[in-house]
């Protein structure tokens, strides 16, 4: 269900490390909780955020949710496809529905995130 090479946050974001860069998105669990996503607001290329900072919002028919930076980094690319097709976040949350790509500032921050197994039990625990 949750890709084993990704890292996860308690706010239901995922991180996929690619060398010095990382892709960031929201998990399948998060998109499912939000329901049909209708709008995604993302930051500008080049903006930098610390771990825990809000970097955008995901709006569904039910609610508007903030998305938070799992790690510190500089945004190098945003998923521009989401402007026309926000439903990608619902349909393929772990790949085509990615949100931003960042240059990693401090790789050691990744150690503080959950692996797939830990995240899965976190989700189970949370929905009890």
């Amino acid at each position: 269900m949750y890709p084993s090479e990704y890292r996860y946050t308690k706010d239901h974001e995922w991180v996929k490390v690619e060398g010095d860069f990382a892709m960031i998105g929201i998990t399948d669990h998060a998109q499912h909780q939000l329901g049909d996503i209708v709008f995604v607001e993302l930051p500008e290329d080049g903006s930098t955020f610390s771990a825990g900072d809000e970097f955008g919002t995901v709006e569904s028919v039910k609610a508007v949710a903030e998305v938070y930076m799992p790690i510190t980094g500089e945004v190098t690319e945003i998923n521009e496809d989401l402007e026309e097709r926000p439903e990608l976040v619902n349909e393929r949350p772990h790949d085509d529905g990615w949100l931003i790509r960042v240059r990693i500032t401090d790789p050691s921050e990744l150690d503080e995130l959950m692996d797939a197994e830990a995240y899965e039990s976190f989700v189970e625990e949370e929905s009890k």
């Binding site: 909780q33 049909d36 209708v38 709006e59 028919v61 039910k62 508007v64 926000p86």
Partner: protein, 489 residues
């Protein structure tokens, strides 16, 4: 049979049709594009050309397909959709009030000024906060004015404080207000009871805290029992307490926010004080505050002179200025004062008691069938959720939509955000026991059908003109205005 489709008024248009014949032009015709070029909006190239009867029928049909408080119970939690007594309308329509001109001299509109002054006095008495402005036009506008008031006082004291604290169960307008007023928003979590986590709050308040915005009872319908302690904690650090008065319907005549340590709050006259909501509005969101904040209230102020007459006081050097054209929504103020005078002190207290009683009566009936995530006692509203129906694949949205088939407006859904799949039910004091029983039976029937025939609940409503609108597509690809090329034959 193809279902009847209501065409837009633009689609009904036929060139040359007119609703009311005008006499022949007996003055020289003027070309507007020449005389007022900057005023002509050329993107509006088509106006509907229709007859009077078409207009009347079109809008009457639309109004019949809508659902309003005049048609049935409207338990929209946090919105206090109570009956709008017709005597309020009769008073607001009195020619001396309805026809008063905002430019009239004070000596010609003494009655209007006395009325505003009297309403402000009552609102101050009800809230325990001695000063009042009736200028703000709605709840969120009142919030905005209230937080500006705190900002103005801080500026006056030469203090630059940067943050406003808001609970995670707050109305979305609270963080929006703080942000619009230039503050950073910090969110304080709820504890297990559903109230503000006081220990966490204590850690958050510092010398950068301008204030906190709190709703009491909160959006879960639970009274914030630590409110006095919270106010003292804020005051000790030089910060202020704003109260969102959206839920004042649970408190009027029973307790006063001023006694809880609140510095400023807004009241929704269109909730607690029975004036019409939204499209039936406009609304009004007066604010009441302490003497410390009063010098900064919007101007002009209505004041009583020594001879007993009333006037507008424009000389208010510290005032934030105006937040509304003229003097606020005067017609709404007339309705709210009528409500207060009709009921009197005892009547207002009785209404509060009935609002709380009605909610708890419903809660008891629904408790065996719907999950209540926060178990603490509730006042005027209760938040249920769809946990027990989810097992059968039935969601809050399905329950809300299906209620329409029983002749009830759905409750507030998916709010507050601290409850997953929230169904927020506020019956108000308006409903009789019989009506509450009928509403409870409808919800219980839906709960039973969710187990026995979940598909039928997922398909509701079946009896309304529009069944399930495609909200997702509407939100993703909104068509915000009609264009001639969209015209269907």
């Amino acid at each position: 049979m193809k279902p009847f489709r209501e065409f837009l008024i633009f689609e009904r248009s036929r060139p040359g049709k007119i609703g009311c014949p005008l006499p022949e032009l007996d003055v020289p015709e003027i070309d507007l594009t020449e005389s007022l070029p900057e005023m002509v909006r050329d993107e509006l190239d088509v106006f509907p050309e229709v007859s009077e009867v078409e207009v009347v029928r079109h809008f009457t049909r639309l109004s019949q397909w809508n659902f309003g408080i005049d048609q049935g119970m409207y338990p929209l939690g946090s919105c206090t959709m109570k009956h709008n007594p017709r005597i309020n309308e009769a008073m607001a329509a009195l020619p001396g009030l309805a026809g008063a001109h905002p430019l009239a001299r004070p000596r010609h509109i003494q009655g209007c000024l006395a009325l505003i002054h009297e309403l402000q006095t009552y609102l101050s008495d009800i809230t325990g906060l001695p000063h009042c402005s009736t200028q703000p036009a709605a709840g969120a506008h009142g919030e905005f004015t209230g937080i500006l008031l705190i900002k103005a006082l801080l500026d006056h004291k030469g203090e630059k404080r940067t943050t406003v604290i808001v609970p995670d169960s707050a109305h979305g307008t609270n963080p929006a207000t703080a942000s619009l007023c230039g503050f950073d928003v910090k969110e304080v979590p709820s504890d297990e009871r559903g109230c503000v986590d006081v220990a966490k709050l204590a850690q958050m308040i510092d010398d950068q805290t301008a204030g906190m915005m709190i709703t009491n009872p909160n959006t879960l319908g639970i009274f914030e029992t630590h409110i006095r302690e919270i106010a003292d904690m804020l005051h000790a650090k030089g910060a202020y307490l704003y109260m969102d008065g959206a839920n004042m319907n649970a408190l009027v005549g029973k307790t006063k926010p001023g006694d809880m340590g609140v510095d400023v709050l807004h009241l929704n006259l269109h909730k607690t004080f029975s004036t019409p909501h939204g499209g039936g509005g406009p609304g009004a969101g007066p604010i009441c505050c302490t003497a410390e904040l009063a010098p900064f209230l919007p101007k002009p102020w209505v004041t009583q002179l020594e001879d007993g007459s009333y006037t507008w006081q424009h000389d208010c050097p510290d005032s934030m200025g105006k937040v509304h054209g003229w003097y606020g929504q005067f017609g709404v103020l007339v309705r709210a004062l009528t409500w207060i005078l009709t009921l009197g002190r005892e009547g207002l207290v009785r209404h509060t008691e009935h609002a709380v009683l009605n909610n708890n009566y419903l809660r008891k009936m629904l408790e065996p069938h719907y999950e209540i995530p926060f178990k603490a006692p509730t006042l005027h509203e209760t938040v249920f959720n769809d946990k027990r129906q989810q097992i059968h694949g039935v969601s809050t949205m399905d329950i809300a939509k299906s209620l329409l088939d029983y002749g009830f407006h759905p409750p507030t859904v998916y709010f507050p955000l601290v409850v997953h799949g929230a169904l927020m039910v506020e019956p108000t004091e308006t409903e009789s026991r019989g009506e509450l029983n009928r509403f409870a039976r409808a919800l219980i029937d839906i709960a039973e059908r969710s187990a026995s025939d979940p598909e039928s609940v997922r398909n509701g409503p079946l009896t309304t003109q529009i069944q399930r609108a495609d909200e997702t597509t509407a939100a993703r690809y909104p068509v915000l205005r009609w264009l001639p090329e969209q015209k269907e034959s």
